[in-house]
């Protein structure tokens, strides 16, 4: 058994720094590269792509990324784990094989985790008494069945562990928890058991630290952000994991950024609820038990994590179609920039009203004044503010109203207040609003399936 393993975070979301995974496998030693691609809304986008073309539905960045990192990973024996398979992990694996073939890399084993997609089973589930009640509102999903775009169960680390045990060099999953991607190699390498709750919680905490990429290593740091060095070449975090569950968070020495008590602590409190009960499919981690020790030189030790048994449920993330939205913007300059923008908003609303258009919500924000902090923003002096961007967004069920709204922005340039610019992008087009439906499902109703594809 290895004394320690080094797990590198390669992506914090789909759209993250493209150079990061390449840097992680080339600028220092690591054993695993883990990449999270799936935000809640991503699954519905991928489902739409798959509906149009059955060969799509996964993170399309993956094949190109693989063509850059596969030779290095093969040479160094670095295993890759990602949930970028989206709603079509099989097609993703096939695309990776194509890349490997083109690079003449032989003997590759890819593990695929399937079974998280329960969309085809929704009707049956509801009819047999599993109502997938909304965790926030308590409502049954029944009424929304025909509007559901995607429905995926969050699997944890253990299906990935199974793939690793079967010899996978690369594991591609659908909806897997971000934390499971990092926890899995620890379970696999150190032989942790399903009942080693403290150890599973330790790996889960490490996963939470890694899951947003450089947010743990100096990116988006609200502390002394100006003192973070070389953000241009920022190093993504690495978890150096030990058998006893302790983890040292670090980064490659040559790269920029910082790993300190403060940068790790900020990530630990990111998007958490009750810190005593951080629930995953693998365990419940107690974030109030975590001890952090800043060892200096961009190394922070994370230890003493306590865990308790997992719940009997998987979380399900469903997305459903909930109307349309659009947003448009124009920029007004000094003098009286804000006053002009406010006047333009009034004129626009009057015109929308005159047209009898129907919206569920109209929202106006003045970028440069209150778009971030709303009523908390301090009103600027009209003589000092140089420019303001008027941003108006609408949402509703009537497609025509949303589309017509898009045609009412540009006319304000010639028919409204002066010194206005910034309408280069054309008319705002309606986009489908995808709402999110969180629910729970008993674990025994969903079985993860692990497949191994081997290159001849």
């Amino acid at each position: 058994m290895k004394e320690k393993i080094r797990i590198a975070s390669g992506q914090g979301f789909w759209g993250d720094l493209i150079e990061a995974p390449f840097n992680q496998v080339t600028k220092g030693e690591v054993d695993y590269l883990v990449m999270d691609y799936l935000a809640e809304v991503t699954m519905s986008i991928l489902q739409k792509q798959k509906n149009k073309n059955p060969k799509l539905g996964y993170a399309k960045d993956i094949p190109e990324l693989m063509s850059r990192i596969l030779p290095v990973c093969k040479e160094k024996g670095i295993k890759i784990i990602t949930n970028g398979g989206g709603v079509n992990p099989m097609a993703c694996a096939e695309a990776v094989f194509e890349v490997a073939k083109a690079l003449e890399i032989n003997g590759l084993k890819v593990g695929i985790v399937l079974g998280d997609n329960i969309k085809p089973r929704l009707e049956d589930l509801v009819h047999t008494g599993t109502h997938l009640n909304n965790m926030e509102t308590g409502e049954s999903i029944g009424r929304y069945l025909d509007k559901i775009l995607s429905a995926n169960v969050y699997f944890g680390a253990f299906p990935i562990v199974e793939a690793l045990l079967k010899g996978a060099d690369i594991v591609i999953t659908g909806r897997t928890t971000d934390t499971g991607l990092t926890l899995a190699p620890m379970i696999y390498e150190f032989g942790w058991k399903k009942t080693d709750y403290d150890l599973l919680a330790s790996g889960t905490v490490a996963g939470h630290i890694l899951e947003c990429g450089a947010q743990a290593s100096g990116g988006n740091f609200l502390g002394d952000w100006e003192s973070i060095e070389n953000m241009a070449d920022i190093g993504f975090p690495i978890a150096e994991a030990y058998q006893d569950g302790s983890v040292i968070i670090t980064k490659h020495e040559k790269l920029g950024g910082r790993v300190s008590f403060e940068t790790v602590a900020e990530q630990l409190v990111y998007e958490i609820g009750d810190p005593k009960a951080y629930i995953t499919p693998d365990c419940i981690a107690d974030f109030t038990s975590i001890k952090l020790e800043d060892l200096g030189d961009n190394r922070v030790r994370v230890y003493n994590v306590k865990g308790s048994p997992e719940t009997e449920f998987y979380k399900v993330s469903c997305s459903f179609s909930a109307g349309f939205s659009a947003s448009g913007s124009l920029t007004y300059s000094w003098p009286q920039a804000l006053k002009k923008a406010e006047a333009a908003d009034k004129i626009l609303r009057q015109r929308l009203d005159n047209l009898g258009l129907k919206f569920d919500e109209i929202r106006t924000e003045f970028v440069g004044y209150n778009a971030c902090h709303g009523p908390l923003a301090i009103k600027p002096d009209e003589n000092e503010i140089n420019e303001v961007m008027l941003r108006v967004a609408v949402r509703g069920q009537d497609y025509y109203s949303i589309e017509r709204f898009g045609k009412e922005i540009a006319p304000l340039i010639l028919t409204g207040p002066p010194a206005v610019t910034g309408f280069a992008g054309g008319r705002p087009k309606p986009s489908e609003v995808v709402a999110y439906w969180p629910a729970l499902i008993p674990k025994d109703l969903v079985v993860p399936e692990v497949k191994i594809m081997e290159m001849n």
Binding site: A265, Q267, I290, Y436
Partner: protein, 103 residues
């Protein structure tokens, strides 16, 4: 005496459905004592009047010198439905750090 929160703490915010989470971390134990005592759920709820339409829950993480706030009904329906420019509440931690504590 007034103390600027920005001078004694940092933090990070994000979304959990229509709720925003704001984690506030004190730079030292003294700071944690101050935020523990004065940065109450009621104070935060009052501060975010007009933004937070629901209740505010406060959780303590003394191990990180941190408090975690959950602000319900705050993001205009949540990340994917919200019309807000900051639909995920990413800038709300900064908004809270602008607060002055009366001590």
């Amino acid at each position: 005496m007034k103390i600027k929160l920005l001078e004694i703490a940092h933090g990070r915010s994000g979304d959990k459905g229509d709720a925003a989470n704001i984690g506030i971390i004190a730079y030292d134990e003294k700071g944690y004592e101050l935020i523990g005592k004065y940065l109450t759920a009621e104070r935060v709820k009052e501060y975010f009047k007009g933004i937070c339409q629901g209740k505010v829950e406060r959780y303590e993480l003394p191990n990180l010198r941190a408090l975690n706030f959950l602000l319900h009904e705050t993001l205009g329906g949540g990340g994917t439905v919200s019309l807000k420019h900051d639909a995920q509440g990413k800038t709300l931690a900064a908004a809270l750090l602008r607060m002055e504590l009366d001590i």
